[in-house]
């Protein structure tokens, strides 16, 4: 579904990604783990067109999207919940979700999608008319994910959904990820919380200083001694 072919990205003279190749298949949850500065966010930014690869290609459903502007991706079926959640703080929860369905014109469809989001995150329903900026971190993350789902994406990109959240809320978020997967949406999950990410994904890639150093089924990686030592702290 999504393939990165030998992608290298530079910030000026500094190389952030070096020859990254990875693929995400239909229906999978693939996670990209790595330490701070390993290039996780850079990878997502390259997929979403915020950064242009110096070399290599990003291919989505057979088409090269490396040079496509970010706003064109939603129509192609890619939706992103950005790092730091990026909810529209001064818009209400409802308006935030409406923004997620920005490209849709059909009112009944939007209403149905919104019901679905509320069903997945009942907390959001309770806070429907509240400004998003007044929500707790966990609620904001739920909103960011609910909003990203409003466009019925085929591929959902999640950037650090557990960042800065209390352990119990992290649990809720990962349950939601399982639920999204069970409904057939493919997910690329970028996470620092390797433990949770490996527990809720099918396959994983490990990034270190801009290179993919390991890849494989999440279960195997979770049992790999090197991963245990470096990322799981065991």
């Amino acid at each position: 579904m999504l393939t990165l072919e030998n992608v290298s990205v530079n910030y000026g003279a500094i190389e952030a990604l070096t020859g990254v190749s990875m693929h995400v298949e239909q229906g999978e949850v693939v996670t990209l783990i790595g330490a701070n500065g390993a290039g996780k966010t850079t990878t997502l930014r390259t997929i979403t067109g915020l950064l242009q690869p110096r070399q290599g290609k990003v291919i989505f459903e057979g088409e090269d999207i490396s040079a496509k502007p970010t706003h064109k991706l939603v129509a192609r079926g890619i939706s992103m919940s950005p790092e730091g959640r990026g909810v529209f703080a001064n818009l209400s929860v409802r308006e935030n979700l409406q923004m997620g369905a920005y490209l849709k014109k059909n009112k009944t469809e939007i209403a149905a999608d919104m019901e679905r989001a509320f069903k997945m995150f009942p907390r959001l329903k309770e806070r429907e008319s509240q400004k998003a900026g007044t929500l707790s971190g966990g609620e904001q993350q739920m909103l960011a994910m609910g909003r990203a789902l409003m466009s019925n994406p085929r591929l959902l990109l999640l950037d650090e959904p557990s960042l800065g959240l209390a352990p119990l809320v992290v649990h809720t978020i990962f349950e939601a990820i399982d639920e999204i997967k069970s409904k057939g949406t493919t997910i690329l999950l970028v996470e620092q919380n390797a433990h949770a990410a490996l527990g809720h994904s099918d396959r994983a890639y490990v990034l270190e200083t801009g290179r993919i150093v390991m890849e494989g089924p999440s279960k195997d990686l979770a049992n790999d001694p090197r991963i245990k030592e470096a990322y799981l702290g065991e």
Partner: protein
């Protein structure tokens, strides 16, 4: 009452009020009561300020793009429309007068040159906006500031519009109108102020408006929702510029004299002060700011004795005081209206404590045994 009847009724009342106020401000007055010219002038300038502030609020307050070149677009509109009036409208007005009578002919000509002013300013907005709206924050501010100065200095060097001596009518070779006709009165100025408010209100409360606000809130997330942010920023910038152009056209035909000194950097800053004071992202706030900033310096002239000499000090002190007590502006992002009075009595639904024992659910759900990790701020 059906909506369209309400609207027509509203329109009739507005027109009636404008005509009445205009008559009151005129030389004969209304029923023997007249407003001295000094006050009438302040009222007219307030109307022009409202157009400027509300239109700047669309780009700065709602879209979050900091532009400090609004006076530049006003200058473009002013000079373009007055240029048309002085050099190209005379014969048209004579021809229309023979057909429709003097009043209607004047109105049509004036409407024509206002549209010219608005279009030329919009074009200038487009030319500046397309390259510069890719920039963010301070960089955009610098570009718009630079543009406004370039415009001013270019105009200063065009002899056809008076150059450094100012533009009050035809210049050699004496082929246009002797003086700029005083087309603008309160019906025009007040009318366009209301049109500006209505247009900006409708934009802000539409899908486009929500896209604009989302750009202000988080440009990256907005882009991720499929909003073509550059395009929307340019649209907002062009609309904003065209209203600045209209304000300029009204200003030119009201003052009957244009000089580039009226469109200096300080003028742009003054418009920004209006919206910062009134509240960025509030239309009524911008109106309030425009009224205060236009009227306050004149009110302070009334200070008795020695205090009069300190009026600019007092003016600055008052602005500082307002900003200290209301840093988000007098209105913040809220609007003042009839519904505002009703709403103020009950708390917004979202503020109600939900869940057991009145504790917000957000706090209940996290484990009480754990110290909550501090929320990381990502701005």
């Amino acid at each position: 009452m059906p909506t369209f009847i309400k609207r027509i009724l509203g329109l009739v009342i507005v027109v009636f009020l404008l005509v009445a106020v205009n008559a009151w401000m005129g030389r004969e007055g209304l029923f023997g009561f007249g407003l001295p010219y000094y006050y009438a002038e302040i009222l007219n300038l307030t109307g022009i300020s409202i157009i400027l502030a509300v239109s700047l609020n669309l780009i700065t307050g709602f879209t979050g793009q900091f532009s400090i070149g609004h006076a530049g677009f006003m200058a473009v509109g002013a000079y373009a429309s007055v240029f048309m009036t002085v050099y190209y409208s005379d014969s048209a007005e004579q021809w229309l007068t023979s057909l429709l009578g003097a009043t209607l002919a004047q109105s049509l000509v004036f409407l024509g040159v206002i549209i010219v002013g608005a279009l030329v300013a919009a074009l200038a907005g487009l030319v500046v906006g397309i390259p510069s709206l890719r920039l963010r924050g301070d960089y955009l501010a610098i570009v718009t500031l630079g543009f406004a100065e370039i415009i001013r200095i270019v105009i200063l060097n065009i002899d056809r519009v008076g150059g450094a001596t100012g533009f009050r009518g035809r210049v050699p070779p004496w082929d246009g109108r002797l003086i700029i006709p005083a087309y603008a009165n309160f019906i025009w100025i007040g009318g366009f102020a209301i049109i500006t408010i209505v247009v900006v209100y409708n934009i802000v409360n539409s899908d486009v408006g929500r896209a604009l606000i989302s750009i202000r809130e988080d440009e990256l997330a907005s882009e991720a929702m499929g909003v073509n942010t550059t395009r929307y920023k340019v649209i907002a910038f062009v609309i904003s510029s065209s209203f600045a152009g209209i304000a300029g056209a009204l200003f030119g035909h009201f003052r009957q004299f244009l000089h580039t000194n009226d469109f200096q950097f300080i003028r742009s800053i003054e418009i920004i002060i209006m919206i910062v004071l009134g509240g960025m992202g509030s239309i009524t706030g911008a109106v309030l700011g425009a009224i205060v900033i236009t009227i306050l310096p004149e009110l302070l002239r009334k200070l008795p004795g020695d205090l009069y000499g300190y009026r600019l000090v007092i003016y600055s002190a008052l602005l500082i005081l307002i900003m200290l007590t209301r840093p988000q502006g007098v209105m913040g992002a809220k609007e003042f209206g009839i519904s505002w009075l009703k709403r103020a009595q009950r708390r917004p639904e979202g503020d109600k404590p939900i869940g057991e024992k009145g504790v917000p659910i957000a706090q209940q759900s996290t484990s009480p045994n754990l110290d909550q990790p501090k929320e990381i701020e990502h701005r």
